[in-house]
Amino acid sequence: MQGVRAVGLSSVRRVYAAARAHVQSSTPGGGGGGGGGVGNFLSSSNEKALGGVRFASLKAVRNRMRSIASIGKITKAMKMVAAAKLRGTQARQDLSRPFAASVRQFFDLLPLEKLGSETKAGVAEPKRRLLVVITSDRGLCGSVNTNVCRLARQMLPHGAASPVSDGVETNIMVIGDKGRDALQRTSAAFFTTTFRDVFKAPVSFPQAVIIAEEILAQSPDEVVIFYNRFKSAISQVPTQQPLLGLQLLMDNASVFDGYEFDSDMDSSQVMVDLFEFEVATQLYGALLENATSEQAARMSAMDNASTNAAEMLDKLTLQYNRERQAVITTELVEIVAGASALQK
């Protein structure tokens, strides 16, 4: 939330700063406020050009106001769209969360931490690790994409330029244009596959299956999915979810001893199928979480932007009125001064 707010603010602040600079540069003496402008004008009243400048500064403020008003309208519309989309994805997610959760619960029987230490101490064969980074295709949604990319970057071998480092091969699969753009600059060598337009239509399970196939085709020893978990409309948590590779799962199959495996074929095949199923369901869950988070983040980012635009418009209106009054005042002074000169 904090991050979302900061980005929303900073982008608008930049526009505002530009507006100020514009106003100030066209006001002689750079007083900014109406009073300064008047003082300056009075002290150098016989310079011809000033009349024009005075007019231009008013016009600049008016232009700025108009553009900010329309930015405000756009952000407000985007907020409405995001809110409507959020309702849709959230409803879909509520229905699909239990599905992914119940598959996950079964695999939670495997104590991950314990396995981690065992494998580190164990064989030194090169491990293949695949990072699946889920981001959105479009921006203007706060810091959700940045957060996920930052999290993913922490998993990359430090300063390494090639995928294989310390016997661990790290590869990246990016879903969404924003993550691709963010990671491409530093880590393009790690990329194996990127997807785009995944979130164009609502995420479907067959779609998750296709991407899961892609993950499985690279036969990694470990898959880590990075996504934003949707906590609420104002809170999205960047999350990394590790999935064990098939090999590790097989090595530790004894934790499932309490369960019978029902199948009409080779018993180890059930485990393989179950593993594939797990990858697909977890990916599906993560995709939906991220889709919901994206809309929620966009909604609050756009809400902030609209608020800021309104605030800025108020300030500019005040400034505009002051300046306008100052212009009237100076004109009055000129007339009075002219009249009194004639009287003399």
């Binding site: 596959t193 479907s204 299956v209 296709i210 074929m265 095949q269």
Partner: protein
């Protein structure tokens, strides 16, 4: 004994996808339209090699109309990737 679809080179997930698609196709309206619309997708996949895009494919839901293409699209790309 492995199943016939496994022999033919289909993975479990592909099998599950195909089964589900068959089920969706024979529903009564309006369930059929609803089910088919929530199962559709279209996305673009890019395969990378040495920091550059090596190939791009559009993946669309056409599982039953052209099963071979949608099944082997992923496989072909991964082969290219490994070689």
């Amino acid at each position: 004994m492995p199943q016939y679809w496994r022999v033919a080179g289909l993975s479990y997930l592909q099998y599950a996808n195909v089964c589900a698609e068959y089920v969706r196709r024979v529903l009564k309206e309006p369930e059929r339209t609803k089910a088919l619309s929530r199962a559709g997708y279209s996305m673009i996949k890019a395969t990378w090699k040495d920091g550059k895009v090596a190939s791009r494919v559009t993946l669309e839901s056409a599982l039953l109309d052209d099963p071979v293409k949608s099944i082997s699209a992923a496989a072909a790309a991964s082969e290219k990737n490994n070689s």
